[in-house]
Amino acid sequence: MIPLEVILNGSLNMIGYALATLGPALGVAWIFSSVINGTARQPEARGAMMGTAFIGFAVVEALAIIAIALAFVL
């Protein structure tokens, strides 16, 4: 059998990172649910909304991405 310490090794950073993704996940979900709502109410405004949404998505996603960089580095 494989000894336990071979199976259970790694970095606690990854658990911290998993917790840290919760915020950006909620943020991204919220952004796109708003876009869907907005598109349902006014389909012709979709282009303008998608533009803003992707800027916001990039900013929110940046948190998760900075977190993964720190999880790797620290």
Partner: protein, 273 residues
Amino acid sequence: MGFLPLLVPLDGGSTEELFEHLGWPPGVESFAGRPLLPGVLPDWVTNTVAQAIIGAILVIIMWLVFARKQTIVPSRRQFAGEFLYDIVRNGIGRDILGPDFRPYLPYLLGLISFIIVNNFFGEFFFFMFPTFSHIAYPYALAIMSWLLYIIVGIKRFGVGHYFKKMLIPEGVPVGLYPLIIPLEFISNFIVRPVTLALRLFANMFAGHLVIMVFVIGGTLLIELGGPLIAAGSVSLIMSFAIFALELFVGALQAYIFTVLTAQYVSSSIAEGH
């Protein structure tokens, strides 16, 4: 071995100890490049480098074939090409960049095709490795997009006006300038390219790691025998679903990379907010 080497683009990661690691558990070491023809070609010509070159050639051939012998009534081949081109032209270029989107179309189209082809290498036989799970490649693409949106903005507005526009949002009182200018600088010129590269890298890396866990783990479970054969079979069957998910993620990340590049260019060339 820590995770730091992941974020530093040293693609000659084919040292002996990395090369020797082939097995369980899948980890950073499983991503080490293998020299293609050791002795014949220099050591930095790994499978990843070859994949990137093959990907570029495939993209060039694909668009040359699509663009050949165009007629008013399109053939099937031309229709397929125009369909793909239209997605990028109307869905990304025109919607985001506005009326003067034409100069940026070749770059956007090349970008999305190159990323999609290289991401799909992760799921296709013979390659079985997503090129962009090596950080150097996303960095290179992000630097190109970064230079593009800075140069385009400077060309349109001149250096002074461009940086004033990018660093000082309209309507901010003078007292807040010391706070706002560094924040905007970090956000617009440092965080943007870094996140652009890391988003693509992290998705490809994590996806390939999950595939390896399912496939190698399933194989190991089956090899252990006994009741674990059932678990291993389920794991191998589930890996098909993961492969399908990775195809979707690969296409989605290519789309997002292109959309964000277009978005950054558009924020560079927009007249005021």
